[in-house]
Amino acid sequence: DARVTQTPRDKVTEMGQEVTMRCQPILGHNTVFWYRQTMMQGLELLAYFRNRAPLDDSGMPKDRFSAEMPDATLATLKIQPSEPRDSAVYFCASGDRGALRFFGPGTRLTVL
């Protein structure tokens, strides 16, 4: 049963610390998305990759966020330095040539 995995599931950190979230997309999927979900803003698209190349990261605060795909089985989202307003659930999703998105379980980030 193929699924998207994310680590860690929960992360509590202090303001100013670096946070790295990891995602393993479904094998064979060529598109990877990072979303952030908060009560106030709902689901926001932060960035997405196709065939490991970043296509759109306009939703991401550039000064502190970075997203990469070192290889086809790993996508990372890094926040440095983290701030309390970054507290949210971060979802990774993958897709193939079709329109469906398969979501991971999310990383719940709390920045104190």
Binding site: V4, T31, Y35, G42, L43, L45, Y48, R50, L55, D56, F91, A93, G95, A99, L100, R101, F102, F103, G104, P105, G106, R108
Partner: protein
Amino acid sequence: SQQGEEDPQALSIQEGENATMNCSYKTSINNLQWYRQNSGRGLVHLILIRSNEREKHSGRLRVTLDTSKKSSSLLITASRAADTASYFCATDEHSQNFVFGPGTRLSVLP
């Protein structure tokens, strides 16, 4: 800006009743999708309807699409307590970059 907007924001019904949620969007689309999110979990894809389709069924789910009104509805028939979740529509803008609406929170009371 959000492409899809669901309404109502929240809906509370009794088990066995039907639940209807609506989604409106602004620009032309290739397809529209509905997802479900249980509390604290990731989104799960429910159904996709293409712009040239008007209605689609999947089990107890029925989705309609009216491109002239730029709207879609999701009907859940004979609801169950397990249907309690948030429901989101997502539309594409002729690209991979589609966005989600704010969702409808459905509560099905036993």
